[in-house]
Amino acid sequence: MAVGFSSYEIARSGLRVSERGLFVTGHNLSNVNTLGFTRQQAIIETNPYITEYGNNGRLLQYGLGADIQETRQIRHTFLDIVYRQENTIQGYWDTRSKAFQDVEAILNDPMGDGLQGVMNKFWDSWQELSKEPESLTARAMVRQRGQELVYYYNHIGSQLDKLQNDLNMEIQVRVNEINSITSQIAMLNTQISAQEINGDKANDYRDQRNLLLDRLSILCDAEVNEMQDGQVDVTLGGYYLVNDGQSRNLYVQANAEDGEFFYPKLEGTNIKVNVKSGILKGLLEARGEVPGIKGSTENGTPNYKVDLTFAIDISDGNDFDNLRDSLSTYINELKKSGLDYNIRFITMGATSDVYGKIYDKNNIDDMLADLTASNLLEADTTISDGSFKGLIDELTALNNAPTGFREDAKKYTYVFTNKSIDGDSGTALGDATAYINSLKSMGMKVSVVTDTAYADNGLPDGLGNPEAGWSVITAGTGGNLMDINNDLAGYESMLKDWSDNLVQTVKDALGNIPPSLNIVSDVKIKLNAMLNRMVNEINALQMSGMTLDGKPGVAFFDVIDSNYPMEMGNLKLSDALLSDNGLNNITAAKTTAKGDNTVARQIANLRDVDILVNSTGRVSIDEYYRNLILEIGNGGMEADRIAANQATVVKAVDAQRNAISQVSMDEEMSNMMKFKFAYDASSRVLNIIDSMMETIITSMGRVGR
C-alpha cells in the first residue's frame, strides 16, 4: 500500500492506546488508597493485519496499529480463596479469645479480688465462730461473710448472664450484617452480569464484591463459587445465600421451643443453618450452643433430675411386704438428698399396669399412704403378659412420651421379680443383649431383686446357647443384683445403698461435664455445680446441729425462686438468719451446749473435703475452682495464641495478594512515562505522515509550472 489515509489510522491508534493507557494509570493512581481496589492494566494488542501482494507476487502483511483489548484486573483468585479461608479461622479464634478475656475479667482471679478471696473470708469466719461459738460478734461476721458470698455468687451469675446475652445479641447483629452483605452481593451480581454480557469487564463492581466477600469470610464459613457469567453463588452450611441476583436472608429465632437464645435459620423456613467457623460460630460457642431457657441444665442449672421406676412382678404371689415397709427408708433418704425425683410404679405379671400416679417431692407422702393401702398391688387393668420384654416396651414408650421420662434426668429401674427374665420360658443370651442395648439407648440403669436361682446363666438350650440370667441384665446396664429372699433389714440396707449410690452419682455428675467448646455456658455449669455442692453441704451440716437457742438447726442458704435449684442468681441467706435474733439461728453446735463448736468446725473444714468431681477425680472446692481458673486460662491462652498465629497467616496471604493486586506508585509512574513517550512517538509518526501528505499535495506535480 502506498501512502494513504490508513497510515493516519495507525498513528492515531497509537495515540489512542497510549492515551487509554494513561487513563488506566491515572485511575490506578487515583485509587491508590481505595479499600479493596485492584490495580488495572490496559491490555494492548495489535490490530489485525492486512495482506497485500508485492510486486514479485509475494504476500506481505502490514500491521494496522494497536488497540486496547481489555482493561484487566490484576488479581490472583487462588489467593482470594486462601485469604478467605484463613480469615474465617481468624474470625473464629478472635471471638473466642475475646470471650475468654471477658470471662477472666468477670471472675477476676487470681490477680484481682475474685471469688477465691470471698470464699477464703467466708471459711475464715467459720474458723472464728468455731473459736467462740456463742459470740454474737463471730456470728454476725459469719452472716456478713455469708451475705458477701451470696452477693458475689449472684453478681458473677448476673455478669455471666449479661455476657451471654451480649453475645446472643451480637449474633443477631452479625446475622444482620451477613444479610446486608449477601443482598449487596446479589445486587452487584446483577450489575456485573449486565455489564459483562457484551464482553466488558466490570472491574470496579468486582472490587466492591470482592471486598464484601472478604468481609463475609470473617463472619462465617460461606462458600463462594464464581459462575461463567461472572456472578457468584454464596452458600452457607449447604444452603444458598446468594444465587445469581437473588439473596436469601438468615434470621435468628428465639421461641419457646428453642429457648431464649438465638440460632441462625434460613428465612422462610425452620431450617437451622449449620455454621462451622468464623465470628458467628465463635459467638455461638462463646455464648454456649445451648437453648438458654432458665432452668436448662445445659446452661448451668444443676441437674438433680432422677426418674425412678419400680417394676414389680405380682404374679407369683410374692410377699412384697418387705419392700413396702422399707420403701419409706428409701423415700426419707431421697427427701434429704435434695434431688428432683419422679417415681413410677409398673406392675408386671397376671395384671400389669402403669400405676396411675407419678410421685415427686410434692406428693411423695401420698405415695407412702397409697402403698400402705395396698393400692399398688391391686392394679386391675391387664395389658401385658408380664414379661421383661413387655416392661422394656413400656419403658421405651415412657421414654418417648412427652409426659414420660424427662430428657436430662438420670433413669433407674428397679425390678422385683421371682421369675427368670422371660417368665418361665428360657431367654437366649442374644435376646438379653438386645434388651441391654435398648435399655442402654435410653440411659436406663436396671437393678434386679430376684431369687438367686435366676441370677446366673442357666443350662444351654438345644442350640447350645445358655439361658441368660438376670446378672447379664444388671451387669450390662450397670445396676445391682440382689436376693429377693432378704429379710426386712436386708431390704432397708439394700434400698439405703441404692439411694446413697444414686445421690452420689447425681452429685458427682454435676460438675464433671464432658469437654466441649462452649465457653460461658460451661463456666456457668461448673460454677453452679461448685456453688450447689458447697451450699448444700453447709445446709446439711447446719441442719444436723442445734442453734444457739437449742432448737434444731435451719438451712443457712436458700433459693430466691423455689422453682429453680440453688444456682448463681438464685441464692440468698435463709429468712431464718435474717429474722429477729437471726444470728442465733446459725448452727455451730452439735448439742444444745452453747460452747459446742463441732458443726462450726466441720463447716470450716469443708474446704478441705473432696466433695466435687472433675476430670482429675475427687477434689475439694478450692481445687475445683482452681482447676476451673486453669481451664479458662488454658482456653484463653490457646485462643490468644492461635488468633495471633492466624493473624500472621492472614497477613502473609494478604501481603501476597497485595503484592499482586495493589497499586505501586513507582510502577504507575514508570507506566505514565512509558505511555507518555509512546504517545509522543505516535504523534511524531503522525507528523511525519502529515508532512508526507503535504509533500504530495502541495509540492508534487509542480515541475515546470
Partner: protein, 309 residues
C-alpha cells in the same frame, strides 16, 4: 516479590502495633509488679498463684487460731497454778491441824482459813476467759460449781460435763486440731465426769476436812491428809497435759511462721515480675520501637514521584 507503597505502610503499622503491645506488656508488669495480669497470660502461674494465696490465707487464719488457743491454754494454766497453790496451802494447814498438840479452838480457827480456801477454789472453778466459763466443757455459759455460800449445794457441780466428749477443739493446721479446754471433772473430780448435784472429789475433801477441823478432831484430819497428795497428783497430771499442749502450740506457731515465710517467698517467685529484668526488656523494646519509627519515616518518604518533573 512486588512491593507496593501501601504494603510498606501497613507492614510498618503492624510492626509498630506489635512493638507497642510488647511495650505495654512490660509496662503492665512494672505497674503491677506481677508477671501476669490474666490467667490466660500463663495459666500455670495463675493456678499456682491461686493456690499459694489460699494457702497463705489459711496459714494466717491458723496463726490467729493458734494465738487464741495459746491465750486460752495459758489462762487455763494460770488457773491450774492457782489451784495448785491452794492445794499446797490447804495441805500445810491440814498438816498443821493434824498435829495433836493443837487445841480444838486452834484447829477450828485453821478450819476457818480452810473454808476461805474452799470458797477461793470454787471461784477458780468458775473462772471465765473472755466471758466464758473455762472448765464447763461445751456449756461455757454456765457455772461449773455452785458458788452460793448460803446454798446447801455450795461446792457441788451445777451442770453435767462429759470429760471425754466436751473437748473444745481449735483447728491449728490442715486437719490438725488441738483441744484447748480442760473439763471440770478432769480437775475437780479426779479425771471423772461432772454431774449435776454431785460434789466433786476435791470439794468433798475440803468439806470433810473442814467438818473434822470444826469438830477439832486431829485424828480425823490426819486420816484425810494423804488424800491431798491424790488431788495434787491429779492436778499435776492435768498441768502436764496442759503444758504439753502449750509446747505443741509453740511448735506449731514456729512452723506456721516458717511456712508463711516460705509460702510468701514462693508466691513472690511465682507471680512477681523481676523489676531489673522487666526494665531491661522494656528498654530493649523502646529501642526497637524507636528504630522502627525511624525506619518507617525513611521508607515512606520518597517515591519515584519525587524524581519526576
Amino acid at each position: 516479590m512486588r512491593i507496593t507503597n501501601n504494603m510498606l505502610v501497613s507492614n510498618m503499622l503492624t510492626a509498630l502495633g506489635n512493638n507497642e503491645s510488647r511495650m505495654m506488656k512490660y509496662q503492665n508488669q512494672l505497674n503491677t509488679g506481677k508477671k501476669i495480669q490474666l490467667p490466660s497470660d500463663d495459666p500455670i502461674v495463675a493456678a499456682r498463684a491461686l493456690k499459694l494465696r489460699t494457702d497463705v490465707s489459711k496459714i494466717e487464719q491458723y496463726q490467729k487460731n493458734l494465738g487464741d488457743a495459746k491465750s486460752w491454754v495459758d489462762a487455763t494454766d494460770t488457773a491450774l497454778a492457782q489451784i495448785g497453790d491452794i492445794l499446797k496451802r490447804a495441805k500445810e494447814l491440814a498438816t498443821q491441824a493434824a498435829n495433836g498438840t493443837n487445841s480444838p479452838t486452834e484447829t477450828g480457827n485453821i478450819g476457818e482459813e480452810m473454808k476461805q480456801l474452799k470458797i477461793q477454789l470454787v471461784h477458780i472453778a468458775n473462772t471465765t476467759y473472755s466471758g466464758r466459763y473455762m472448765f464447763s466443757g461445751f456449756k461455757t455459759d454456765q457455772k461449773l460449781i455452785n458458788d452460793d455460800e448460803s446454798s446447801p449445794d455450795f461446792g457441788k457441780f451445777e451442770i453435767d460435763v462429759n470429760t471425754i466428749t466436751e473437748k473444745i477443739q481449735f483447728e491449728i493446721g490442715e486437719g490438725d486440731n488441738i483441744n484447748i479446754n480442760v473439763c471440770g471433772g478432769d480437775i475437780f473430780n479426779l479425771g471423772g465426769n461432772a454431774a449435776d448435784g454431785v460434789e466433786p472429789a476435791m470439794m468433798a475433801l475440803f468439806t470433810n476436812i473442814i467438818t473434822e477441823m470444826e469438830a477439832g478432831d486431829n485424828d480425823g484430819v490426819r486420816s484425810l491428809l494423804n488424800q491431798f497428795d491424790v488431788q495434787i497428783d491429779n492436778l499435776l497430771r492435768v498441768r502436764a497435759d496442759v503444758g504439753a499442749r502449750q509446747n505443741r502450740i509453740d511448735l506449731s506457731e514456729d512452723r506456721m511462721s516458717n511456712d508463711l515465710v516460705n509460702m510468701t517467698d514462693l508466691m513472690s517467685k511465682n507471680e512477681d515480675a523481676d523489676p531489673a529484668e522487666t526494665i531491661m526488656n522494656l528498654k530493649m523494646e523502646e529501642n526497637v520501637y524507636q528504630s522502627s519509627l525511624a525506619g518507617g519515616a525513611r521508607i515512606i518518604q520518597q517515591t519515584l514521584v519525587d524524581f519526576l518533573r
